[in-house]
Amino acid sequence: MSTKKIVIIGNSAAGVAAIEAIRERDNASKITVISDESYSAYCRCLISNYLAGTIDENGLIYRDKKFYADNMVELLLEKKAEKVDVKKKNVVLEDKTQIPYDSLIIATGASSKMPKDLKGVSKKGVFAFRTINDARDILNLTTVSHTSCILGGGLIGLKAAYGLKKRGQDVKIIVRSGRLMSQVVDNIASSFILKRFQDNGIEVLLNSDVSEIIGNGDMKALKLDNGKVIGCSLAVIGKGVSPNVKLIKETDIKTDKGILVDEYMRTNIENVYAAGDVCQAYDLTMGKPEINALWPHAVEQGRYAGANICGDNLKYAGSFGMNSVEFFGLAIISIGIFDGDYETLSYADKDKEVYKKVVIDGDRLIGALFVGSIANSGLYTRLIKERINISGIKDDLLDENISYAKIKNLVKEEKEKIYI
């Protein structure tokens, strides 16, 4: 096997999966990983658990230092890649060091979108929520802050709200739209989630926006668009993320919302791959390239990029929106498309706080929602992913007792040896 210099920018879900895939196939090539953070890979999704105090910094570790030693990886921490030179095939760091590569994986992830034109957004006390450092800074301020405001009712905002509530903060969530998690669940599911937050003492201000953050240096209050002022010294912005593509701006690497990749996770430039939140890969439910900035997809895409660098020709089937979260004991799973001009079947029990819904396009399942009861949700993920004709089992889709046996003869299974 010829030895190569493989460089990975970004040391998180996608980067780590790429390392593992490469080392499963190739122990000779040199792997260098560049990260601008100061930690070995950690569970980014759990910084809210860390904020809540349910896990400590140790519990956040995803791969420890030993992992990099075992896999013969040169890990460069606290080094920011400033740009990629695809002609010279090297990565230029902020300190001007040049790191040459034969193959490159861009796994730089995404950053929190900060509303630049919001007056006062750069005041002290206003935080993004993306890194351990963000969580730690927020935590430090909770010792003196009493009221925390969350801007945005999406997943990140709600996770931050949950964490801050657990730390005893008086938490208010300010949401521009009329409901919570409007990007991933429908009205009914939103109403269950809203109730759960309110029942747990969190105030949710719907149809409201912040017009100004007030204070000298340190923030002291928020002004809402209806003129109301809320005194608070801590605010977390949860207004979505944008892919970290700055370092390739001067190259011919094609981007749309994120870096565009084909089904082999290759960009349009030879030997340059992208994976994870930074990339825009094919979306199975939308039928076009989309960013699905989610951990499982970052891992899978990283794995495909790594394998294909080693000469495998593995085709990535594509991603689609899916997420599972739990807030104050309420489990919520959203898979694929949750609303729109499609046939839907649903079941709701307000008292038990249980809701299940499936979204059907012709004879395909394209989405499923579960609140309160999530058993067998994996089967729906599979039906969506494999684009199974579900016309024969439509009546069973809302049945609590649906099981793999029911879909066994429909799904693609390599000759199934488990049952003889």
């Binding site: 999704c45 951990w295 499982p296 799973i333 898979i335 993920t381 066994k408």
Partner: protein
């Protein structure tokens, strides 16, 4: 050595002895009487479901693709290549149910009370999976894949 569980569906009667012994094995006391009175009822990792008069025990198969491992945002699930086993670290698990969401067999269930996924671990705490001996009709087989292949292939006469 990497044995796996296989099921002979021509034998399985759906008596659910496997479910019972599994749940007891997952209880803290590991004894039926005591398990029944435990505060959080232990759940079985295997469930027998029927289709067209055949019965299918459904449990984690430690599949090659193991999407649960990719989906685990806490790094609690990992794949042990030598044992060909999906491993679980309870200390890392936060009970987010990502694994439940992606299991292609619906073989991971949520134990809400304990906030842990209920998943066959081939009884790592015992010599062999408890369901094996509990099955009264011998429908459960625990073998390495190669051994199974030999068993299935009728011997060719020379």
């Amino acid at each position: 050595m990497a044995k796996k569980l296989y099921y002979d569906v021509s034998k399985c009667l759906a008596c659910k002895s496997c479910e019972l012994v599994c749940a007891v094995g997952k209880s803290s006391s590991k004894e039926l009487q005591a398990a029944l009175s435990e505060e959080t009822k232990p759940l079985s990792c295997v469930k027998v479901k029927s289709l067209e008069s055949k019965n299918f025990p459904i449990a984690c198969r430690h599949c090659k693709e193991h999407p649960c491992v990719s989906a685990c945002i806490a790094g609690a699930l990992s794949y042990d290549k030598t044992k060909k086993l999906v491993d679980y670290d309870r200390n890392k698990c936060v009970g987010c149910w990502m694994c439940v969401m992606v299991c292609p067999y619906g073989a991971i269930r949520d134990n809400k009370a304990l906030k842990i996924p209920v998943r066959c671990d081939l009884c790592q705490d015992a010599d062999e999976p408890r369901c094996l001996k509990a099955c009264p009709v011998g429908a459960i087989i625990y073998l390495e894949e190669e051994e199974l292949d030999k068993l299935l292939k009728p011997k060719k006469s020379v």
